[in-house]
């Protein structure tokens, strides 16, 4: 009953985003205000820009270039026809290396968040010839098939790293990346395993994804770099993004024994089937053994939608009351867009910079904050502050929400 808590720490992290490949590119880009949307090569009537990863071909060649020769690549390079697979592998390999993991950690579990998986129409005969030579009669007469296996990113990460532990797949679009981190920490804390690779990856900037985004609605009609303006009075919608963030989450003592440097503790979390992520913060803090007064930063979902940002702000005000005007708040989506299944994970990755360098990135494109919101929104330039406890809010399509509490690893 009185056993000491098994703290779960993030001992390695990797990221791919519109700000480039690598965690340092993400952090530097957010601080420099270097993000934003760029023109889609194949725009649709509803979406002209997106926060795109600056690589044209995210494939095996790219992975070798960014990960080096030690990465085991799958024999079937066709898996990379879905960009998020390469993003996931690159981020996972970076996390694995930065946590100083080697073959002794191959029993690690993998917990991945999935995005809005897509279907694509492909000619049945071509698919059959390509994938099932000699078995064409086994393919149904359907003219469509899943573009990729739903969990191909997880399967490929597992193969590239040679993982042998269980794979758990969290499904939930906007919350699944945060759910994956929370789930990984819970597995460690409960003693089900000591080490987990976790995170999320998504890439919807293909015809099917763009069409679906249009059907979803809520995206900014603007065709400018600053299309996504979280909490700005001129905001008019989200901007779609793509990318991945992956982490090594493990038992603190294990990380220290291996010589890894914990980047943060994942000390609290809460999830619900309701939309109000801020309402979960007290529960997540209780799990962390922290109080509201200790929260030094709120990383909002802040997607730039007129109604969504207001609802979120009201939720934060309900929870924090008068303190809301004094707790710094930021959002990363102005810079990296809404990366759907990767969003929660990329926000965790971005927040690690706060502990590392005592600085908080501003909300990109926030020129005219909606003052009625009553929040301390960080604007224009980074704010330098020592923060010990961060609350991260994530919302998903279909009324899902998750709150995470990160704290300084040496706190």
């Amino acid at each position: 009953v009185n056993a000491p808590r098994r703290w779960a720490v993030i001992s390695g992290a990797g990221a791919v985003s519109a700000l480039g490949k690598g965690l340092s590119a993400l952090h530097a880009g957010l601080i420099a205000g270097a993000g934003g949307a760029t023109a889609l090569s194949s725009p649709t009537p509803d979406l002209a820009v997106a926060a795109q990863v600056p690589v044209v071909f995210a494939n095996a060649t790219w992975l070798r270039a960014v990960c080096g020769p030690n990465l085991r690549l799958p024999a079937d390079g066709g898996v990379f026809r879905d960009r998020k697979v390469a993003f996931a592998v690159a981020a996972a390999f970076e996390a694995w290396r930065s946590a100083r993991c080697d073959d002794r950690e191959l029993d690690a579990w993998l917990v991945m968040g999935l995005g809005l998986e897509h279907v694509a129409l492909e000619e049945r005969n071509r698919v059959a010839a390509e994938l099932l030579p000699g078995h064409t009669d086994a393919v149904s007469q359907s003219p469509a098939r899943l573009h990729t296996l739903v969990d191909l990113a997880a399967v490929t990460v597992r193969e590239c790293l040679g993982l042998r532990g269980f794979t758990v797949l969290r499904s939930g679009a906007g919350v699944s990346g945060a759910d994956a981190v929370a789930h990984a920490a819970a597995l460690v804390e409960r003693g089900q395993t000591d080490l987990v690779i976790c995170g999320g990856a998504d890439a919807m900037l293909h015809p099917t994804g763009l069409a679906t985004a249009a059907r979803l609605g809520g995206f900014s009609p603007a065709a400018t770099r600053s299309a996504c303006r979280p909490f700005d009075r001129r905001r008019d919608g989200r901007v779609l993004g793509e990318g991945a963030a992956m982490f090594v989450v493990e038992l603190e003592q294990r990380a220290l024994a291996r010589g890894a440097v914990p980047l943060a503790r994942v000390s609290g979390s809460a999830a619900s089937l309701a939309i109000d992520a801020a309402a979960l913060v007290p529960r997540a803090l209780a799990h962390a053994g922290r109080s509201l007064a200790e929260v030094g930063l709120v990383v909002t979902h802040g997607e730039g939608s007129p109604a969504g940002d207001r609802v979120e702000a009201n939720g934060i005000l309900r929870v924090l009351g008068g303190a809301a005007a004094k707790v710094p708040m930021t959002s990363y989506k102005g810079a990296i867009g809404h990366t759907m299944g990767a969003a929660g994970a990329l926000e965790v990755a971005a927040a690690l910079d706060v502990f590392a360098h005592d600085r908080i990135a501003p909300i990109e494109n926030l020129g005219e904050p909606e003052s009625e919101l009553g929040l301390d929104l960080i604007q224009h330039v980074p704010r330098h502050a020592r923060v010990d406890v961060i609350a991260i809010l994530a919302r998903g399509i279909g009324s899902r929400s998750t709150a995470l509490v990160l704290e300084r690893a040496d706190s």
Binding site: H183, H287, R400
Partner: protein
């Protein structure tokens, strides 16, 4: 051949609002099973604190939708794997903890483990300290629609569909059975390490791939010599994410009808991992 749910059962289920999503059959099945579990448990109309954890499959769209899509008409929904969860939660007004786990069998057992954890109030994203009093857990899937089936056609399995949801609660009150044990095991079946459980009189094996059928039955026989073995896969085909949950529901039925007292449900999905759940009837 496929094992399909009778259309009469599906009739009358609601369409989502706004009507912009294609409702995959698994979503309808999840909604039906959840409503039935809530009704049978007699849980209150105020469901803000009730949670839901579901194993969900690779969702799909109906062929008619695909045809309209190809013709340039209405765009069907992008496949949203967690729609069975979010649609059902919204329909029933559930506001407690919850999550969807992509499953070809094992993920549904992870969903149950999270539900149990939420009830127990331990660490993790599922629950606040002190726990959640009422939780729903199960799985829903349909592999009879074209898109998932195209991916699965090369495997030795019969497409099928179904859903089952358990209403789980702590404390006193009406109960059909006690959830005594739940775990996952990894590796080849003959190397599964499972907990010793005494007095199991019935074992339900629920597998999704026919080639595993004999192995799983043999394992169950070795584990509990003398126990009755029921092979669910033989009857229900391979509804993947729903398979373990249908096994749990079948066990409850055996217990409630007095045909079993302690039932072990061994499930195995395409992932190869085992689900191991033990349900025990009330003491007599």
């Amino acid at each position: 051949l496929a094992v399909e749910v009778d259309e009469r059962i599906l009739a009358g289920t609601p369409a989502p609002e706004p009507p912009r999503w294609t409702v995959h059959r698994a979503t309808v099945l999840a909604a039906l099973a959840t409503r039935a579990a809530l009704d049978e448990a007699g849980w209150p109309a105020n469901r803000d604190a009730i949670g839901l954890y579901l194993g969900v499959g690779a969702a799909g769209v109906e062929l008619g939708e695909v045809d309209r899509w190809r013709e340039g008409g209405a765009m069907p929904a992008q496949v949203t794997n967690d729609l069975p969860l979010s649609f059902t939660a919204a329909r029933e007004g559930l506001g407690g903890p919850g999550g969807a786990f992509l499953s070809r069998g094992s993920g549904t057992v992870f969903a149950l483990l999270e539900a149990i954890h939420a009830l127990e109030g331990g660490a993790g994203e599922s629950a606040s300290p002190g726990g959640c009093e009422k939780i729903l857990a199960g799985g829903a899937d349909s592999t009879v629609v074209p898109l998932p089936w195209d991916e699965l056609a090369i495997l030795p399995m019969r497409p099928a569909e179904g859903a089952a949801v358990l209403a789980l609660a702590t404390g006193p009150g009406k109960r059909l059975a006690t959830l005594q044990h739940a775990a996952v095991a990894a590796g080849p079946i003959d190397r599964w390490r499972v907990r010793v459980v005494h007095d199991v009189d019935t074992v339900i094996v629920a597998e999704s791939i026919m080639v595993l059928q004999r192995e799983l039955v043999d394992f169950a026989t070795r584990l509990h010599p003398g126990a009755r073995i029921h092979d669910l896969g033989e009857v229900l085909g391979a509804p993947l994410a729903a398979t373990p949950a249908l096994g749990w529901a079948a066990a409850l039925d055996l217990i409630a009808s007095g045909n079993a007292w302690r039932v072990r449900i061994l499930s195995c999905g395409l992932e190869g991992d085992a689900g191991d759940v033990v349900l025990t009837g009330a003491e007599t």
